[in-house]
Amino acid sequence: MSQATQELSADAGQLPAATAFLGEFWETADLPPALVFPFELALEEIFMNVVMHGSGGGQVPTVRLIIAADTDSITLTVADNGPAFDPLSLATPDIEADLEHRRIGGLGVHLVREMMDAVSYAREGGFNQLRMTKNLAPA
């Protein structure tokens, strides 16, 4: 089991640092390169959600990233101390709409749900915690 943690402020300028943190963990833990894409995507979507919507209380939240891998699965937890908000409560976007009626809102969370094997939300210790897991195929 390997694990790494990083704390960042919920600022769009910190997205490259968040992505770099994930890339470093992938190399250190020697994880399958094909699996970095869904996690990079999930990290960006959830991190940017916090950046865009998490500062309602007037304060820029702190985001804590926790990535953990064992032989069966990889789990990324994105936690933030912004106002309580469950992104999984968002309505599923209409992915059948035509060009004129397409909306981007909600698509990020939709992609995360589609690409991960398990996604769950909890509010614990003043932090929103979104846990995203992908199972590893048996070697």
């Binding site: 992505t19 894409f37 960006e44 976007p93 709409a97 060009l99 004129e100 981007i104 992609l111």
Partner: protein
């Protein structure tokens, strides 16, 4: 992300290379809007060099497709890598944007007489 814009027989071909994330989305959108404003016959985005796209990046394709339609010109996307194509497929974008396997077929589809 780097973007090159070429002109092929009056069709503007944009070649984004690298990662189309939140940070890259704004500049890329501006470049596509400028390309459309120059009134080419059509706009093709050749994604052969595109390694990554998020929902912020998808939004740029949506905005460009609408702008092209409003300008009365064709718009198509080609050469999606498997990971990028998955994002287009999972969001249903493949149903509202013309996606071609390669640039040649994209050019053919945007220049064919209506």
């Amino acid at each position: 992300m780097n973007v090159t814009i070429e002109s092929v027989d009056g069709v503007s071909v944009a070649l984004p290379a690298g990662r189309l994330d939140f940070g890259a989305a704004g500049p890329f959108q501006q470049q596509l809007e400028q390309a459309i404003a120059a009134k080419p016959k059509a706009l093709v985005v050749d994604c052969n060099g595109l390694e990554y796209v998020s929902s912020a990046g998808l939004r740029v394709f949506l905005v460009a497709a609408r702008a092209a339609k409003a300008a009365g010109i064709g718009f198509a996307v080609s050469d999606l890598k498997p990971t990028v194509k998955e994002v287009f497929d999972l969001t249903g974008f493949a149903n509202v944007i013309t996606i071609c396997v390669e640039r040649a077929s994209a050019l053919a589809s945007v220049t064919k007489p209506a």
